[in-house]
Subunit: 351 residues, 2 copies
């Protein structure tokens, strides 16, 4: 008990991608729970739902009728948080009240015409089509001169504020580079300038040698629980090749991305035998800012809230909001559990 | 529609206390909601509950029997995230895996022996006793040489991960100054060095002149929705006098703090006629770090999740986690609503 041990003693860990800290309390996982319990989401949904505004052929909020689509589709969000025609302007009252206008474009991506599927339940071939659509959208949005950053993401599950269970993700593209990306750019740039290679190349090398935080790997991608993970089963997909964005992936890499996505999300569903909620999204280089960003290394974050079961989640509340994030189970424990799970989806396992 | 308008157009605002940005989408409040709806918490609880480990005379998880207390009490958390005897140590593998041990002390503060009360429902005199207990705890913990920061906070409501409805708050005191406090120290120090007075003195002056974000005020404190608020009904209590910590408040100021706490939390409960959930906590100077911190100005943050009603909350998910926080209603709209509410608690209004 007298030497410091990451698996037993409270400690803080540094997120090298953002420069921020997380408090880890490994001894605390035995805490009893008398608090809020989530009601598990409905187990089986129908393939088509008449009043779902994302199902093929149905009418959306703005009156548009969806096509009878049979693969993934993208369209402008009817309730976009960012709009392309926002007039330019700023406020600065004595450096105390500071604001600036923000132009942008928000898209919705339906992953599948089927209302009852999610990524882990889709065929590899169909996930690959989603990857291709992300690619096409990225290309299109990066060609809009005022767009500096394109955030591709998915909120999965009611508990993650997903407003419709039809499998879908979103893209929010903005005039400014958002804060998290500013942090990751700064940290990656510092490392690249000092070491001449990308931060995530070096980090991945170390993780592959250590092994204890690896969840899954294929020829092109690795899924792992980062050393500084905040959420109980947080994960990151890192491309083995140092590329700045999805636009640079080869055909084989796009297949590899589809495969690692299916692998990771299947393990997630199998962990508590539930449709595992998360928010996930890619981080990649900013566009149209006059820089090459050789420091940037494409990766994807998964932030799932569940802690102990399908109904008990981790709350990022008081101390976490006011001081810094805190976690109970260690990243190493989480990785070991995810690594040990089967890669056949539990719903299909008996079949 | 052609000139930039903070009440109509998407924009970002700077949090001058942390240096971070929030995206505001004022036009988006009409968005329909088909997503998760919270079940409202039980309306009336009994004054004493046999299996509540915080009620007077009951036995706690570690076997301790609570006193038959009649005012607020403090004791060490049975499931402390930080422990006083953690051995010192650190990890640094090539600047990629970085961790350090963290000593600390965690306390629980029961606000009242009554299981059925919350701050807004307590008498002013009894809230003042809570203020005095916070003061005594702060004094005691600041006298522990290894403690650098003392975070006093409350998670209220199931939705905020509160594990027991008995009215209580917490104190987590740590060996290092947590991240949010590092940010606020840096920003306040920069301002103080340049202008010779505290950032919040200047900010408060501006807000009092503008009026539109003020919720309530008394002789010693002001409650307002900060210009950069992230949560829909986020609020801040700022002391009119520039003091570094709760330890410096006069007797009259302690009364004033009790009064503004009752005022703000009553308005919160009245907003949706529900026991309004939030995480709240004080921010004040670090201790025992060899500095005087003349820049520090005591304040208290309230982060409540509800957006439209007792059952529809704001989700800080995908975009918020991956890019930066986003809000729909403006801080000015939120302040106007809170300002217009009665200061008599809705449960007591008919009486
Ligand atoms: O200590 P409690 O009330 O059991 O736990 C609650 O507050 C803590 C501090 O904000 C959080 O880390 C927990 O996730 C939350 O459930
Ligand atoms: O756009 P949606 O799915 O309606 O909304 C969801 O995702 C957004 C982006 O993360 C969040 O701002 C909302 O709080 C959330 O409910």
């Amino acid at each position: 008990e007298n030497t410091f041990d990451l698996t037993a003693h409270p400690h803080t860990r540094l997120n090298i991608l953002t420069g921020e800290w997380v408090l880890v309390s490994p001894h605390r996982s035995k805490r009893p729970w008398q608090g809020k319990v989530e009601s598990p989401a409905l187990v089986q949904r129908p393939a088509y739902v008449e009043d779902c505004y994302l199902c093929p052929g149905n009418t959306r909020a703005d009156g548009t009728k969806n096509a009878q689509y049979d693969g993934p589709i993208a369209f402008t969000n009817d309730f976009s948080a960012l709009l392309a025609d926002t007039p330019a302007g700023k406020v600065d009252e004595d450096e105390l009240l500071i604001a600036r206008s923000q132009k942008g474009i928000c898209r919705v991506i339906c992953f599948s015409p089927r209302h009852d599927l999610t990524l882990p339940e889709m065929d590899l071939r169909d996930i690959r089509k989603v990857v291709d659509l992300w690619h096409a959208q990225l290309e299109e949005l990066a060609a809009v001169p005022f767009i500096k950053y394109i955030q591709i993401f998915e909120n999965k599950g009611e508990i993650m504020g997903c407003s419709n269970p039809h499998p879908h993700g979103q893209i929010w593209a903005s005039e400014d580079v958002p804060m998290e990306l500013e942090k990751e750019t700064r940290q990656q740039r510092n490392y690249f300038q000092q070491h001449g290679r990308s931060l995530l190349t070096a980090y991945l090398e170390k993780e592959l040698k250590a092994g204890e935080r690896i969840i899954a790997e294929n020829e092109h991608f690795v899924a792992l629980v980062p050393f500084w993970a905040v959420w109980p089963y947080e994960a990151m997909i890192i491309s083995r090749r140092h590329v700045q964005s999805l636009l640079q992936f080869t055909d084989a890499e796009r297949d590899g991305l589809a495969a690692i996505l299916k692998d990771l999300t299947t393990r997630y569903d199998n962990l508590f035998e539930t449709s595992f909620p998360y928010s996930a999204g890619m981080h990649q280089m900013p566009f149209n800012d006059g820089e090459d960003h050789p420091e940037w290394h494409w990766h994807m974050h998964f932030y799932p809230p569940l802690l102990r079961s399908a109904t008990v989640k981790k709350f990022m509340v008081g101390y976490e909001m006011l001081a810094h994030p805190q976690r109970d189970i260690t990243p190493e424990f989480a990785a070991a559990r995810l690594r040990a799970l089967p890669v056949v989806h539990y719903k299909q396992a008996g079949v």
